[in-house]
């Protein structure tokens, strides 16, 4: 079936992989798989030690004023341009949205003057040249720019595996007109996995419903948070999916960590697992489940799936 995600110019290099706190601490496999895929698809990238936290967690939990986010985002931009890798590829959709929002606000002269006053203390300035070279991409957008190569590199056919994607709200709903595809029916993940032969569920009821995490809701208002997550689990179970893929560690944590707990509390059956999109794509291309995809970090038991797709035998080269 013709894929609906629009074509983009291939990104071959100049990428700065923007490390994410949640990914590094909760699912390092997602980062490793992304790096592995970048090498496989010939995307030249760096991990810049100068890059710091995107402040998303603090800001969206109302613990931190936006001015702080603005200054740190400007600094991260300067650092990226300085390192000659102006394409910031975000592993987490929250980093993507908050940095892009900061970029927009930095267009307003007063705010830029205010930020530059702060940056002057550390000898940096966020000027026109940086504003015009810095680019903000989600990691999946970079992978999609090389998607023609995927078909040739598939080593493990995922034929028969039913996949649904949970589109990250911060990717789809903060800049709805700038997503790759339809912000109310994002098919980016499904189209990335299509060469591996998965059966995609495409658009399904409540695809755009929230994962329930909501940053602090998980801690401040757990019953509501879990209720929303359960609704989504019910929908996905009704679709008989085998894997639900995510593009933001917040959602991954909310689903993967609480999947079994919700199952036990509501004694209902949701027979499927959760992975990052990059992890499943890497597995299809023959990546090692432990060293590259970091399956051990997941709460759910991924072995049945790995057996089914032959990820435990040596991958045929």
């Amino acid at each position: 079936m013709p894929h609906t995600t629009p074509e983009v110019d291939p990104i071959g290099g100049g990428v700065q992989l923007f490390r994410s706190c949640m990914v590094s601490s909760e699912y390092p496999g997602a980062e490793a798989a992304t790096k592995w895929l970048f090498e496989k698809l010939g995307v030249e990238y760096i991990v810049n030690p100068e890059q710091t936290c995107c402040t998303g967690m603090g800001y969206y939990s109302d613990l931190m004023p936006f001015a702080t986010t603005l200054a740190i985002a400007a600094r991260n931009a300067c650092v990226a341009v300085e390192a000659g890798h102006p394409i910031q590829a975000y592993l987490c959709s929250t980093c993507y949205a908050i940095n892009k929002k900061a970029y927009r606000v930095l267009e307003v002269p007063e705010h830029r003057r205010e930020v530059n006053r702060v940056l002057a203390e550390i000898g940096r300035v966020y000027d026109d040249t940086i504003a015009q070279t810095i680019q903000h991409r989600h990691v999946l957008e970079v992978l999609w720019s090389q998607h023609e190569k995927l078909a040739g590199l598939v080593r493990r056919r995922l034929g028969g595996i039913r996949v649904a994607s949970h589109p990250a709200c911060h990717y789809c709903k903060v800049f709805p007109d700038e997503v790759l595809g339809d912000s109310e029916n994002l098919m980016l993940a499904e189209d990335l996995l299509e060469p591996a032969g998965v059966i995609s569920t495409g658009n399904y009821p409540e695809k755009t419903t929230h994962c329930g995490a909501g940053f602090r809701q998980r801690f401040v208002n757990p019953s509501m948070s879990m209720a929303v997550t359960r609704e989504k689990l019910r929908r996905l179970a009704a679709l008989k999916v085998d894997v639900c893929v995510h593009m933001c560690p917040n959602c991954a944590v909310q689903f993967d960590r609480h999947h079994d707990i919700i199952e036990r509390d509501s004694d209902e059956e949701y027979p499927f697992v959760h992975l990052h999109v990059q992890q499943l794509v890497a597995l299809a291309l023959g990546a090692d489940p432990d060293t590259v995809c970091g399956v051990a970090a997941h709460s759910q038991d991924l072995e049945p799936l790995l057996q089914r797709i032959g990820a435990r035998q040596a991958a045929p080269l």
């Binding site: 079936m1 013709p2 609906t4 709805p176 029916n185 009821p205 409540e206 695809k207 755009t208 419903t209």
Partner: protein, 1113 residues
């Protein structure tokens, strides 16, 4: 020198409140050319007019400068005064002192004063440069074109006709009626829509002054108001006026399509009529051109036709359609490479439809189509056909059907040509060929087998013995052998000879090890035949590599499965052996670049040679004409081993002698191409014998219907029926047919996968069933040019496509409809006869939920900003109708703001609310479909603040209005401006609401903006009044602000001709070529004047002199 009078207007304090007019006047008097300056309280009133008249008379003024409001506001008033005082056109200049000075600088009076002085000086300077211009008169054609046949167009047409104006009513769709025809009832009186629309339709049909053009579009507009030249393009209806509207054709039409009139709620046949009292009442066929399969087939067989009939199990009709262009459907169903399947649209969704397999099953039901009845003899000229192959026999049948006595000469003892003697019977059983040959001969065709052309008779002898025409369809029976040493050794045979002797039943044996040289279908047939003749090891050696091998992939893989060995990229260099051949030496090779005819010769590669042992070597490297076949055929030229033929008449170099099939140049080497060539030859012979081109030798090509990806993605994918095949080990030594074909159940299932790309499938079932003989499938689109005085555009609106809101599930969830679709369900003329039925299970819904403002009052990029005005009333109307007819059904309407403007609407709301309709203030973002197709709706009532979650049986979306596709298209063609959501922009929202930006073109109804039926009719009548007043005078002055080129100064460079967007300028050549402007078509934009290198071109009222004077003061 001009005598200019300046008149300054206080504008009742608007101007004098900011500017010191006396001081300005004083300054004005000192400007050169000014003889008088006066200040007046209200210049635009009667007192101002008298003042101007007096001063012009007293001081003999010939120019007037008006310092007042913007020229766009009162300009026409002062220009009319100048005209009345015979000062002429272009004698008034304006200083914009109000909007251009006083209003916008009222906080800085002294700067305003200084600016006013400059503005006044500029106007006076301009007046000094203005030259009077002569308007020319144009004749106003007392006719009007109304675009759009909805209630708006109908009302305007009716009004114009009653004013005695000839009306041309143009409608894109098949019938007049537009959107209103789809409604059940109308608010607030709940009277039936058709009751008010029906009489308008009848009136339009019967009024002699209204010319109705349906299935017609405006493609071009030129000329000035009053003399618009309009080009119309009429799409074929394929049904003539004899149609009495009985509908028999719909019972036989096999093609079902989504009903566009019923907005996809139901399906209707390819031939249909949208609703009972449609105008015109004749049916129409939805023909979208040839489906890709039909357009790809060399014989243009109506493949979609016989597949559609097969899907309904109508085997006799299917056979009729399949055998019409091709007397060998059963043969082709088996051996054709079926290029049609490669082009099948379904291939882009999942797998192509198995067209050939279906055709085979259909052809095998030939008996169902009954015996062949011998066609009547209509001509005496006898025709001789040389060769009883597919080409010859097809020509023979077609000529017999045309009424000619035909005699077919065949060199071999049996008819069928390559079908009988070339293709082995495990691919094509002999009885299949025999029965189809029999059916051809049953047309009264005489067969004389065993007589070889060039020996027993010649072309000359045939013509001499009284045959009117001869068709050489003798094919290429001679096997070609490569000139290698050792060719004469015993055991070296031609592939065609092996196959022929096997087919004739002669005793033929092959050695233990067989090498077949060649990569085509003949080579594969020879190899598999050798296997069946008992060879132990059969190797197929060819110059091509695995990818470029010409044999059909299906055949090749079957051969390999049976054990045939493949040795690609080898060219034979020598045949070795002494008593008989024992081995063949090969040189590895690749293919060189293709030559003129596209053949790629082998190019040796320096690798060491290969030797294959062989007891028998079979050459399958090409075919040739029989040695002396063309002896005694003077004038018949041969080139490249094939007879040279004139492509248009199929005639060879010799008058009366034709050629077709493999033997004729350009003929492909597959059966269907030979058959198509035979049919062409028959038509060529008919034209020759009758002495005039009665039939098109090449059939009229129709453009190819393409199904867009978006529509394709909405179809469910169905797996393809794979054909059952004899297992390799079983078929390796048997001659039984390998492919077992479909059974009836498989054929039906596969035929139902067809997507009906072409709409009408050219199966002619309707043509045969029509009692009035009103079907004419040969109609073509045609164009027409009219001259009309004015235009009224009433092209209406379309419903917002709710698919642009994916979370609402429209188009995915079965029970989510829009209000228009609900109107069709509730309409007595609708698909359910007015019964409210859930699409998923046909039950009466108990709980109905209606959601307002879908796509309207939406500031995101996924909807429209405007409120669509009628949806709240539309929803309330339908809720009321449902509550009336189904008291047990609960209706909930979720609104953002209930909007019931206008007479009687608020009262109607109260009435309906009392009938138990629940109104909740909420804007639902997402729907979810449950297992039983009911819909879970979660909403927050923004009045009470409560959160609700309920299940509903049916959800109806009140999708808003936006400009129709027709509106956007007409706007592009006639240059109208469109505002938000594509609505046409009126000249002035308050003062001139039904005028468009262009003079002489008026707009009405929902094409201009969302509105209900009463306002649409009011605007339509207003537009008609505007047209009547415009055309009433009979004559009109053309505007003077048009371009003019001074012939003496013009250097004839033609730049103006190339830049004019109206095409209103042309070069008049003579001794001094110069530009001439057609002032009737020129609209005065001035692009040419700005581009003119010599300064010859100017625009009335905006010459360079005037503009420069104003700009450089």
């Amino acid at each position: 020198m001009t005598r200019c009078g300046v008149f300054l207007c206080e504008c009742g304090g608007n101007i004098s409140g900011v500017l010191d007019l006396p001081a300005l006047a004083a300054g004005g008097r000192s400007l050169d050319g000014v003889v008088n300056v006066t200040v007046s309280q209200f210049l635009c009133g009667a007192e101002g007019r008298r003042l101007i008249e007096d001063v012009v008379a007293d001081r003999g003024l010939d120019r007037i400068v008006i310092g007042s409001c913007s020229r766009r506001f009162q300009g026409p008033t002062f220009e009319r005064i100048a005209r009345d005082l015979e000062l002429g056109e272009n004698t008034v200049a304006f200083a914009n002192l109000r909007e251009g000075c006083a209003f916008i600088h009222r906080h800085e009076p002294e700067k305003a004063q200084r600016k006013a002085e400059t503005v006044l000086a500029a106007a006076v300077a301009r007046a000094g440069r203005q030259r009077p211009l002569q308007p020319s008169r144009t004749f106003l054609n007392r006719s009007a074109l109304v675009v759009g046949g909805g209630i708006g167009g109908l009302s305007a047409a009716e009004e114009l006709a009653s004013a005695g104006i000839t009306v041309h009513l143009v409608e894109r769709e098949q019938s007049l009626g537009g959107y209103m025809a789809r409604l059940s009832k109308t608010f607030p009186t709940e009277d039936c829509a058709m009751c008010s629309l029906g009489p308008r339709l009848a009136n339009a049909a019967t009024d002699s002054r209204i010319n109705v053009h349906t299935l017609t579009e405006v493609t071009a507009l030129s000329g000035p108001p009053g003399e618009f030249r309009v080009r119309l393009r009429h799409h074929p209806r394929f049904v003539t006026d004899q149609c009495v509207g009985c509908g028999t054709c719909t019972t036989v039409c096999p093609v079902e399509l989504e009903s566009q009139f019923d907005l996809g709620v139901t399906r209707r046949k390819a031939i249909s009529r949208p609703f009972a009292n449609a105008v015109p009442s004749t049916f129409a066929i939805d023909n979208r051109g040839w489906a890709p399969c039909t357009s790809t087939c060399p014989a243009h067989t109506a493949a979609q036709g016989y597949i559609a009939l097969a899907a309904q199990g109508r085997w006799a009709d299917a056979y009729r359609v399949a055998s019409a262009p091709n007397p060998f459907p059963s043969v082709c169903g088996r051996i054709c490479p079926h290029e049609c399947e490669e082009q099948c649209t379904r291939g882009r969704l999942d797998q192509p439809v198995a067209i050939a397999a279906i055709k085979r099953f259909v052809a095998d039901q030939a008996a169902a189509a009954g015996p062949v009845e011998v066609p009547a003899r209509r001509f005496e000229d006898r025709v001789a056909v040389v060769g009883a192959g597919p080409a010859g026999l097809t020509a023979a049948r077609d000529l017999a059907l045309l009424g000619y006595p035909v005699t077919v000469f065949e060199a071999q003892p049996v008819a069928g040509g390559m079908l009988r003697l070339g293709v082995p019977e495990y691919r094509l059983p002999r009885d299949v060929v025999a029965s189809e040959v029999e059916r051809v001969l049953a047309h009264g065709v005489e067969l004389r087998a065993g007589e070889r052309c060039g020996q027993d008779y010649t072309v000359d002898s045939l013509l001499a013995s009284g045959y009117g025409a001869v068709l050489l369809a003798l094919g290429l029976p001679q096997a070609r052998l490569l000139p290698l040493e050792g060719r004469e050794l015993p055991g070296v045979i031609g592939g065609l000879d092996l196959l022929r002797s096997r087919a004739l039943g002669d005793p033929v044996t092959v050695g233990r090890r067989v090498v077949v040289i060649g990569g085509g279908d003949v080579a594969v047939d020879a190899a598999r035949t050798a296997l069946r003749l008992g060879a132990e090891r059969v190797t197929m050696a060819c110059i091509e590599d695995r990818a470029t091998l010409p044999a059909q992939p299906g055949e090749l893989s079957e051969a390999i499965a049976e054990g045939v060995l493949l040795a690609p990229s080898l060219m034979p260099v020598a045949l070795l052996g002494d008593a008989a051949v024992s081995s063949v030496r090969f040189q590895p090779c690749t293919l060189a670049e293709p030559d003129a005819r596209g053949w790629r010769p082998p190019r040796p590669v320096d690798a060491e040679q290969v030797e294959l042992e062989a007891d028998t070597v079979v050459f399958c490297v090409g075919q040739a004409l029989g040695e002396d076949a063309l002896a005694g055929a003077a004038g018949v030229a041969v080139a490249g081993g094939q007879i040279v033929v004139d492509r248009e008449t199929m005639m060879t170099g010799r008058r009366g002698v034709f050629a077709a099939g493999d033997a004729a140049a350009g003929g492909g080497l597959i059966a269907i191409q030979a058959i198509a060539a035979g049919a062409r030859a028959a038509r060529g012979i008919h034209n020759h014998l009758r002495g005039e081109a009665l039939l098109d030798v090449w059939p009229m090509e129709r453009d190819r219907a393409e199904v867009p990806d978006l529509e394709l993605s909405r179809r469910r994918s169905l797996p393809r029926q794979e054909m059952r095949v004899l297992p390799p080990e079983e078929r390796r030594t048997s001659w039984q047919e390998v492919r077992l074909g479909f059974n009836e159940e498989e054929a039906l299932a596969e035929a139902r996968r067809c997507l009906s790309c072409g709409g009408c499938s050219d199966c002619h079932s309707c043509e045969q069933a029509c009692p009035a003989g009103a079907i004419d499938l040969t109609q073509k689109p045609w164009e027409e040019e009219l001259t009309v005085g004015a235009l009224v555009v009433a092209t209406g609106h379309q419903e917002f496509d709710a698919r642009r809101k994916p979370p609402l599930g429209y188009g995915r969830y079965a029970n989510v409809l829009t209000q228009s679709q609900l109107a069709r369900l509730l309409s007595a003329s609708g698909p359910t006869g007015g019964e409210l039925r859930r699409p998923s299970d046909g039950q009466v819904p108990k709980r109905v939920f209606m959601l307002q403002c879908v796509g309207s009052r939406d500031s995101t990029s996924r909807g429209n900003e405007h409120c669509s005005a009628i949806c709240c009333l539309f929803a309330t109307l339908h809720a009321s109708l449902i509550r009336e007819s189904y008291p047990g059904t609960q209706v909930t309407i979720a609104y953002t703001d209930l909007r019931m403007p206008g007479k009687g609407h608020e009262e109607y709301l109260k009435l309906v609310a009392e009938r138990g309709v629940r109104y909740v203030r909420s804007r639902v973002g997402e729907l979810a479909e449950e297992q039983d197709k009911s819909l879970r709706v979660r909403w927050e009532d923004t009045v009470t603040g409560g959160k609700h979650e309920e299940l509903f049986d049916l959800v109806v979306l009140s999708a808003g209005l936006e400009a129709s596709a027709g509106t956007t298209q007409i706007a592009r063609v006639i240059g109208l401006q469109q505002g938000a959501a594509g609505f046409l922009k009126e000249y002035h929202p308050k003062l001139r609401p039904v005028d468009s930006q262009r003079a002489g073109i008026f707009i009405a109804g929902t094409a201009q903006g969302p509105k209900g039926i009463p306002e649409t009719i009011a605007q339509a009548k207003a537009a008609a009044a505007r047209v009547t007043s415009m055309l009433h005078g009979g004559m009109a002055a053309t505007p003077v602000e048009v371009a003019f080129s001074d012939p003496d100064v013009c250097i004839g460079c033609g730049v103006c001709v190339s830049v004019c967007p109206q095409g209103a300028v042309r070069l008049v050549d003579g001794d001094r070529a110069h530009a001439l402007v057609d002032q009737a078509s020129c609209r005065g934009c001035g692009i040419c004047a700005a581009e003119c290198p010599s300064g010859a071109m100017t625009v009335g009222g905006f010459s360079d002199a005037e503009l420069l004077a104003e700009a450089t003061v």
